[in-house]
């Protein structure tokens, strides 16, 4: 958030308060410590943007799948076993030469967890939430994404339980690549819509 109080520099009382709250909730039988560990592990190691990258790579490689994804996002990601919390009603929006999509939640932090995992700090921050609906081209330029004037920018503000996933454009020079190799080009930011997918040369540098 804005100001000099950084996300990795909490007030000392915050850490204590979290410990007190967890102890109290455990003592009251409202949460179990092992379940908290499992929730953390799920979103640290199992559910993240690699899920979304698999979905996008298939959409690039398989036109029938892309059509299913654009028609019913939730049903299409379920083909990979991806489903659930913060992605119950998934809508995929496709970037083309004429249209560039970008996703935000101006009111809180809504984000498609089953395909992208948990949102980065900047996505939940005041600068992004305030600016991207008003001046998306400037925000995208700060991410290194400069769009032609003729490209229509579509900003999706996640104000309900619909969750939006951007299908980035398939980069040139990727004909004949396997889905696994294509997935390496699909970044988290390209599925939020602040960036475009990597070229094979860019992916090799990472």
């Amino acid at each position: 958030m804005a100001g000099d109080h950084k996300h990795n520099d909490p007030l000392p009382e915050t850490v204590l308060r979290v410990k007190s709250l967890e102890s109290l909730l455990i003592e009251k039988g409202l949460v179990e410590a092992a379940a908290l560990d499992a929730l953390v592990d799920r979103y640290e190691t199992k559910v993240g943007p690699k899920n979304g990258a698999k979905v996008i790579a298939r959409a690039w490689a398989d036109v029938d799948f892309k059509q299913r994804l654009l028609t019913d996002g939730s049903a299409a990601i379920a083909e990979f076993g991806f489903s659930g919390g913060q992605g119950e009603e998934l809508v995929a929006v496709e970037n083309t030469e004429a249209i560039h999509n970008v996703v935000v939640c101006t009111l809180c932090s809504c984000y498609p967890w089953p395909v992208l995992g948990l949102p980065p700090v900047w996505y939940k921050s005041a600068p992004y939430r305030s600016r991207v609906v008003r001046e998306p081209r400037k925000v995208l330029a700060e991410f290194g994404t400069t769009l032609p004037e003729t490209t229509e920018v579509r900003v999706w503000d996640s104000t309900a339980e619909t969750r939006y996933l951007v299908v980035p454009r398939r980069p040139p020079g990727t004909d004949g690549m396997t889905e696994d190799d294509l997935a390496l080009l699909v970044t988290r930011d390209s599925m939020i819509g602040v960036s475009v997918a990597l070229t094979p040369a860019q992916a090799r540098e990472i």
């Binding site: 979290v18 410990k19 109290l24 489903s83 900047w122 700060e142 920018v153």
Partner: protein
């Protein structure tokens, strides 16, 4: 409520600062806050809209100075206190924890994946008939409820076009007050210049998900 959380269109928040190779969590306390919020959801003691409304009521100066998991912590303590599940005295250790009952038992570790894979349902089988159809021009109502609303300030009073009818859904604004008032949810397209006037960009569009009660016919 016209709160600090309703940030769309505000000036002065500075540049977007992305962190390279950002970890999922930055500290252990963030992990616990994230996990506690999700584990509490399994108890059936508060819905997602009550949860959001609790966060929105954080002191606005603190909200701006806090990281997102600090906002979640503040909201979680607030909603659990309001629901009578915890008290300030218990949290500070002044009073011994007293027993409470919940609609569902605590989430167990072996059930975490199944529960999170299942998610929640926001679609309603019955409710109000739709007032609008795809392609219709509508206006976002100029309303300023002190309670929870998912109609952002920046869209109020502006005209848009119904892009898609998503069908009957639990109405978030009512759900935050413990009611469901099912009605149609629509995706509504607003042009950039309709929302921002000459400061907008002709040809660009902003899409919002809004319910029947947020909209009026033009």
């Amino acid at each position: 409520m016209d709160g600090i959380h309703d940030m769309g269109g505000m000036h002065g928040m500075g540049p977007v600062e992305a962190e390279e190779n950002e970890p999922v969590f930055h500290a252990d306390w963030e992990k616990r806050v994230f996990a506690m919020n999700n584990a509490i959801s399994a108890l059936g003691v508060r819905n997602i809209d009550e949860s959001r409304h609790a966060r929105e009521r954080m002191d606005p100066a603190q909200y701006l100075a806090s990281s997102y998991y600090e906002i979640w912590l503040d909201g979680l303590v607030r909603i659990l206190s309001e629901k009578g599940l915890i008290s300030t005295q218990e949290l500070s250790g002044v009073m011994a924890p007293r027993p409470v009952s919940t609609p569902r038992p605590a989430l167990a570790a072996p059930d975490v994946d199944a529960v999170m894979d299942k998610g929640s349902n926001y679609v309603a089988p019955r409710g109000k008939a739709p007032s609008f159809t795809a392609g219709q021009t509508v206006r976002a109502r100029n309303i300023h409820p002190a309670s929870h609303t998912r109609l952002p300030r920046y869209a109020r009073g502006h005209e848009g076009i119904i892009e898609t009818d998503y069908g009957l859904h639990v109405f978030a604004d009512a759900s935050a007050a413990g009611r469901s008032d099912p009605q149609h949810l629509y995706n509504v397209k607003f042009t950039s210049t309709e929302l921002w006037g000459p400061d907008g960009h002709a040809g660009d569009n902003i899409y919002l998900d809004l319910w029947d009660d947020h909209l009026e016919a033009v």
